[in-house]
Symmetry: C2
Subunit: 454 residues, 2 copies
């Protein structure tokens, strides 16, 4: 019997998160405040607990995972690594394709890996309540679930248009006991001001972030939580890549290339960072593993953006971060991979890309859904639209191998299932989806609004 | 580290299905045709392949699971057995509560356990296409997935009102390559006749069954597949209970009582039948395991129906089966546990109940959703409304243990996740759901329409 699903014992869940900062050729530059000076830990303390701030600024290579976090991880981890043998046969490729399947978590994606850790550190710090924002709802669900596990109240500001059009993720958050508000809301000054001038405002992720941060900053018992971009989020996700390494060791294989979807960067960081150190010393088997971030061509941050200091949100509320960005007021079209619609990228992912240690690739929406349907028919799992980006890139690589005859090993981060995205598949089948490539002048225009620094 | 999630190796997937017929005190009575005579294998051959008919009629205790079926099972099996420690703590009960989680399959429920087997036997028999019916879509999805795994075309007749109101399960079937028709459809004589007299007919499961059977009977390359009720379906599901036994042995515990939702009976059969033989010889540890089928009080087949020969479908198209029934023209209200809205029950489950070897319990809709929300908040998993029936009964038992101080072991068959049922949770939160108890005279009236036999 050949085992296509490579599992680990629960005792094999990694004991430490891996911090890629320790293995960067040059130290990361700090985020800057409105005054142009590096943001201090004291400034962050208004919205984050000390343990999270320590991790955000740490250069330690290994950071211990608390037993209470591992206990919750054990509800679904270690996640399986699965050999996509049926997909290989369907493609007729000599390549070996594996996927690390994060859709097995209660919230259905990789997001709980960090949500659980953040909830734990907040509970330990005596925090009673967490505020956060959500677009389509993936992150809000993960935080609602994680907050419930540690007895924290969770308040989610959900972009109003999603609140109205995507009721099911809202119901899921409520099932886990979270309060969900359509943003802009009457709960904050930001929301009230917007509604006063525009009662029909449909909201945006930038507005929702502002509301969540405003509430967290105003209350001592409340913290804010973010689901991507920041260093501590990338750190928590490295459990994915570490497990994958053990699983490959178990079957005596090793990835030549890894593809992960990339929006804010947390799922890419999660699977790829643990291979960066290995690559620095020449790779496990004498050659490095190629690490490829796959983004939508409608929001091509790494492939067509600038490497510069920019705000993390649309309204310029957050500190400035050095990252690849399309400009904080860049408005990507309403593609269905909502999790990848972010103007910037994780500063750590951006630095690795800038220093040539990772690659990036942009793919069109139609090609990603085509890949997702092919994958579902071969493997059974219906992937989230975000994951379809990585699957598209993997299929293209496998087809290149078919031409060349190369028997390489490909790893995909299959970040979540598509159970709440069937409307997008429906639109794909109905021929209602389209591709979108930004004209160069549109990107140039929004990059002109980058804040001036130094 | 205590492990709450009890897993098995893929090599521990059972090699045989268990056939409870071998351990029944009296042999089952046969299904009867329109002429009142037992249905022959030759009659069934119009819509089922020979291997399925053999299993339907077999009295062999163990039937080997083909390696090709086990290969597909390995995509998600063995399913985990999980100790619901957080739920126990929330309830303050000395009882130990475990759940066998079948929501890990690609289709999200236990249904693929039989769909995969049925697809395999049809493919082996040279069948090219399978027709089936679906209400809310759980079974249609499972058959679409399974057909895809063995290269069979799948045509699903989906009750029109569900087709229109529940588009996401339809999209899921299409993603797996199935054709889905709103029933009544123009594809069959049954459908055309109905539409001619009533163009706005919203369909019913009975009509959809008739359409699927009509098409299968008319074409030599086409078989029909059913997702519950029949003996071979119950047989295939026994993999659930067999795995659970191994998992309990692994942790040195054993269930005192098992609760499973019961509509057509396949999920109850799946987890409970493997314990029937054990009970017959006094139980594993000197006392039998109580086996409790939990049904909705709005469709109380076992608890308030008659044990009699009745049609399997509403229109009287199928053979007569001896079973607990509320009468084939009984119309249960539109409760949200669509999988439990069936007027009859598996003949094998019915016989076991009639002979006093299992118990039955009816619970109200509101209490089941209350239980599901409590469970989700404790354990993370959001259960399907069907599963909430078993969870409700388990919580009530655990609360009784709290009163009595008894440290019993409770097992729940958590048959699927609720990702496609969030609209029902929404209605529960909005206070829009209600309980429904049938007046005794309504049940008496529909039982008067039972066919006369012999």
């Amino acid at each position: 019997m050949e085992s296509l699903r490579i599992t680990l014992e629960q005792s094999e869940i990694p004991t430490h998160w891996y911090n890629v900062v320790a293995d960067l050729p040059t130290p990361p530059v700090p985020p800057l405040g409105a005054d142009g000076k590096p943001v201090s830990a004291a400034q962050l303390a208004a919205i984050f607990p000390a343990a999270i701030i320590d991790q955000e600024m740490s250069a330690e290579r290994w950071i211990a995972i608390p037993e209470q976090v591992r206990e919750i991880y054990r509800l679904w981890r270690p996640s399986p690594l699965i050999r996509a043998r049926r997909l290989e046969e369907m493609l007729g490729t000599p390549a070996r394709i594996y996927y690390k399947y994060e859709g097995v978590s209660p919230a259905g994606s990789h997001k709980p890996n960090t949500a659980v850790a953040q909830a734990f550190y907040n509970q330990q710090a005596g925090i009673k309540r967490i505020t956060t924002e959500t677009g389509a709802g993936q992150w809000g669900c993960s935080m609602a679930f994680a907050g419930q596990m540690f007895g924290l109240e969770v308040r989610v500001y959900m972009v109003k248009v999603s609140f109205q059009q995507k009721p099911f993720r809202r119901s899921m958050m409520q099932t886990w006991g979270a309060e969900v508000f359509a943003s802009p809301s009457a709960m904050t000054q930001t929301g009230r001001d917007l509604l006063a001038s525009d009662p029909d405002n449909q909201g945006s992720l930038g507005i929702a972030i502002s509301e969540a941060v405003e509430e967290a900053a105003a209350r001592a018992d409340t913290s804010y939580a973010l689901g991507s971009v920041l260093n501590h989020v990338a750190l928590h996700q490295t459990i994915i890549g570490q497990e994958a390494k053990k699983q490959f060791e178990k079957v005596g294989d090793w990835p030549d290339v890894i593809f992960a979807p990339c929006g804010g960067g947390s799922s890419f960081a999660g699977i790829a960072f643990p291979f960066v150190a290995e690559n620095a010393s020449g790779g496990r088997h004498g050659r490095p593993t190629r690490l490829v971030a796959v983004e939508p061509s409608s929001c091509p941050t790494l492939t067509r953006g600038a490497y510069a200091y920019d705000f993390g949100d649309a309204s310029g509320f957050t500190p400035l971060m050095k990252m690849y960005t399309l400009g904080h007021d860049f408005m990507p079209p309403g593609i269905h991979a909502g999790g990848l619609r972010y103007h910037g990228d994780s500063p750590l992912v951006s630095q690795l890309y800038h220093e040539g240690l990772i690659e990036a690739l942009a793919v069109g929406q139609l090609a990603t859904f085509e890949a997702g349907v092919l994958f579902a028919r071969a493997e059974g799992v219906i992937p989230a639209p975000e994951s379809n980006h990585a699957i598209r890139a993997a299929i293209d690589e496998a087809l290149r191998c078919k031409e060349s005859g190369e028997a390489m090993t490909i790893l995909v981060n299959l970040t979540g299932h598509g159970h709440f995205d069937m409307a997008a598949y429906d639109r794909y089948f109905a021929g209602q989806l389209e591709d979108f490539e930004y004209p160069a002048e549109a990107i140039r225009a929004s990059l002109e609004h980058l804040p001036k620094v130094g």
